[in-house]
């Protein structure tokens, strides 16, 4: 019996052992159904609260079963076009432009250091890894961005600070190195392709799963970011969506937590101006909307991208 046959026999046997009896199947299903519910329930609650009238929330607290539904919060939200529509367009701009530039830079850095014939590949790999281990810290970063690059109150303050990520570059490098055979590049070169042509017409089309994966990561990074806006922006017109939402939610939390250390009169007055409970939930719903729709679109690449990214024999 050859090795090959033996292995087949073993796998057939283990397949049989692995076939679960019905009760185990049932248990596993129940566990996972419960798990899914645990993930979905808070989201459902969020949506329901955003539709509940404010006085009912104060009287009954948060509940799944509300007596009345209303669209008041959403009406109010969209009655302030500056607030939401402007923020949406800023966010879309930074997500689209930022993702494009960021992906481009990632590729341009990762591809050369993946090539065995590039002389300084180890140096540049170390160089980018170093930025993962050590960074300038908040103050130094802030100084460079504000005083040197003059990013304050420009939309680029939301794009540039997040443009490069050592981690994504390393993922991309590993992908290029492991998946694109050196022979392919060699034959292309023999056929007379330039380096640019090799990268854009041969390597990148073969790397779609990785590009989609990293692209998705970067999209999320830009979509979810509010900290850059907090640091660099004072111009209302440039606020991205997440910052507007985050600010509204955090402000209320801050005031409530610090009501005893602030002058209570100040806190009372500030709190009276804050958006109501249901409005805050409506904001949260609004801010997750589009990204939830984008996710399934990326998902098939996302899964295969991760598999391919792992080390294979």
């Amino acid at each position: 019996m050859s090795d090959h046959d033996k292995r087949n026999a073993v796998s057939a046997k283990s397949l049989h052992i692995n076939r679960s009896p019905w009760y185990a199947n049932l248990a596993i299903h129940i566990v996972f159904i419960l798990f899914s519910l645990a993930c979905l329930a808070p989201l459902a609650l969020l949506v329901i609260i955003s539709l509940t009238p404010e006085n009912l929330i104060l009287q009954n607290g948060y509940t799944f079963f509300t007596r009345e539904l209303t669209l008041n919060a959403y009406e109010f939200l969209f009655s302030k076009p500056d607030l939401v529509i402007n923020a949406y367009s800023v966010t879309f701009f930074i997500v689209i432009v930022g993702t494009f530039i960021s992906l481009f830079i990632t590729i341009l850095y990762a591809y050369p250091i993946s090539r065995m014939d590039f002389p300084f590949r180890n140096f540049f790999s170390m160089f980018i890894v170093l930025t993962m281990l050590f960074n300038g810290g908040l103050t130094a970063t802030y100084l460079v961005n504000v005083r040197l690059l003059h990013l304050r109150n420009t939309v680029w303050a939301l794009v540039l600070p997040l443009i490069g990520s050592a981690f994504y570059i390393l993922i991309a490098r590993t992908f290029f190195r492991n998946t694109i055979p050196g022979e392919l590049l060699e034959s292309a070169r023999i056929d007379g392709a330039s380096e640019g042509r090799i990268l854009f017409q041969i390597v990148l089309p073969l790397s779609l799963p990785m590009l989609a994966t990293i692209g998705l990561f970067i999209v999320f990074r830009y979509w979810n970011d509010w900290f850059q806006a907090l640091l660099y922006l004072t111009d209302k017109k440039l606020y991205p969506l997440q910052f507007v939402m985050n600010r509204a939610l955090m402000n209320v939390q801050y005031l409530q937590q610090n009501i005893s250390t602030l002058s209570s009169e100040e806190a009372m007055i500030e709190l009276a101006k804050m958006p109501s409970e249901s409005l805050r939930m409506a904001m949260a719903v609004t801010s997750i909307g589009p990204i939830v729709i984008a996710y399934p679109f990326f998902q098939k690449y996302f899964i295969s991208g991760l598999t391919v990214g792992a080390v294979k024999g």
């Binding site: 504000v146 040197l148 402000n251 009169e265 009372m268 101006k273």
Partner: protein, 545 residues
Amino acid sequence: MKHRVKIVRMFMLTLIMLSLLASCGASGATKTTQAEVTDQKADIQTATDDSTAPDVETEKKPETNPLTEDLAFVELNYYIRASEQDNAEPVQKAMDEYFRDKLNCTVHVYPVPGQEWVQKMPLTLSSGEQVDLVFDQANTGFYTNVSNNLYLPLDALVAEFATDMLAEMDVNTPGLIDAPKVDGVLYGIPCQKQTAQSEAWYFRKDICDKYEFKIDELVTLQDLEPLLITIKDNEPDMVPYYVSAGTGVHMEWTTDAIKDNPFRYEELNGAVNLLIVDLETDKVMNHYETEWDLDRYTTLKRWQDEGLINPDAATTTTGGGDMFRAGKGWMVGGGGAPTTLSTYEVLFGTEFYRWRATQPITNTYQNTTALTCITRTTADAERSMMVINLFHTDREIVDLFNSGIEGTNYIVNAKGHFELPEGMTSQSDTGYAYGFETFFGNMFLNTLWENQPEDRYVELREYNQNARRSKIMGFYVDMKNITTEYAAVEAIRTQYAPILKAGAAQDVQATLDELNEKMYANGLQKIIDEVQTQYDEFIETHGKG
């Protein structure tokens, strides 16, 4: 051999990259290090963007009154802790015009909301950006910022450019200017408002009249109990005593335990939630170890058991104001200043009785809650002081900053009072309401709003003049040597405080013991010893009283 060449080459490359980076960062870095130079005048110039600042900055004071001189135009930046407003631009424009006329400058207002302040301001201040005027208070790091040398000493500037302001302060808020001094040097100009601290409850008038409550006769926390029971029995929809997580009884509230001697303890500025000093023995104490705390928290526990406090008090984040507005509350807490009463009546749209649960005391804590500082990165320190002076003496700018523009944000009625424009229900509706009037300048200069009592500021002035003065005015805890310990102890304290304040502790004495034990294990004794030393030194140099 080949290998070594490679290493050398790589090393060179690193050097080149590093030097590139270094030269890029240089302009920013030198500016901040220079800001550390103590010579005030010299570094005002280097730290600012335009090193062509006029000769106004020289050490010699000009002989002539600078207000009459031709001042070079300068743009000033003023950072305040307030939420951003929907429609602040017209007011900003009007302010620019005003300051251009008066001082040939502009003052651009940058509002930074409360929770962002802590993250944003240290960066802004230490990055060498041009910040001229900035709001600060003991809670947001005033003393740290002073010891980090971010602010300019103001005594000379005040003496030269703000004597009018001092005259106003003597009338409205006697002794105010001494409170924020650090080692005898003034670094922040306090707002002229209530100088005395007291805590109060505001009770709905209609409810009190209905059950014939005698609010005037209340003295201690325990006196409140029969009232709460009445509410519980007769108003099923109301929570008699609503507490949301972490709020509730302020630590120095009068209880039965200190009824006879309410001024025996004083809070220590800089550690108000943790430490108090016993003025009879001059001992710095952890207030969780006092009889007073035991008494207070035992009472709260009894109330919780009797159903007088909402059961979710330790965790809920819905504020007392929201509950009140939803009709579930009949009392709401706040400061004891006379102005708060009318502010609340407008805010909640109902009439109130006030009960001051502590006697007003003029102390360091209250008078370091609203400071205006001039930073080391200012473009023009003297002009900034002139701006502060106007904030304290000119009704026009105070009204403009607080109430906005006539016609847009308010209208003037026959009596000369302000009123909301038609169709508006609150100042926020007009798109401009920083709510900053108690944080800068001179509150007494505000023109009255129609719904405010005629004697609003007369009453406030009396309140300030009659309040008891703290025995340790000017004392603050310098956390420099005990930062780590204090952070650790605070983390523990904030974990237990909501439980105690909600009356949710099963056994109050045991919970307090557990809390104290944990705090001592994390360095509380070191904090107490350090503060005791500072306190003793303070008493020795300043005396008590």
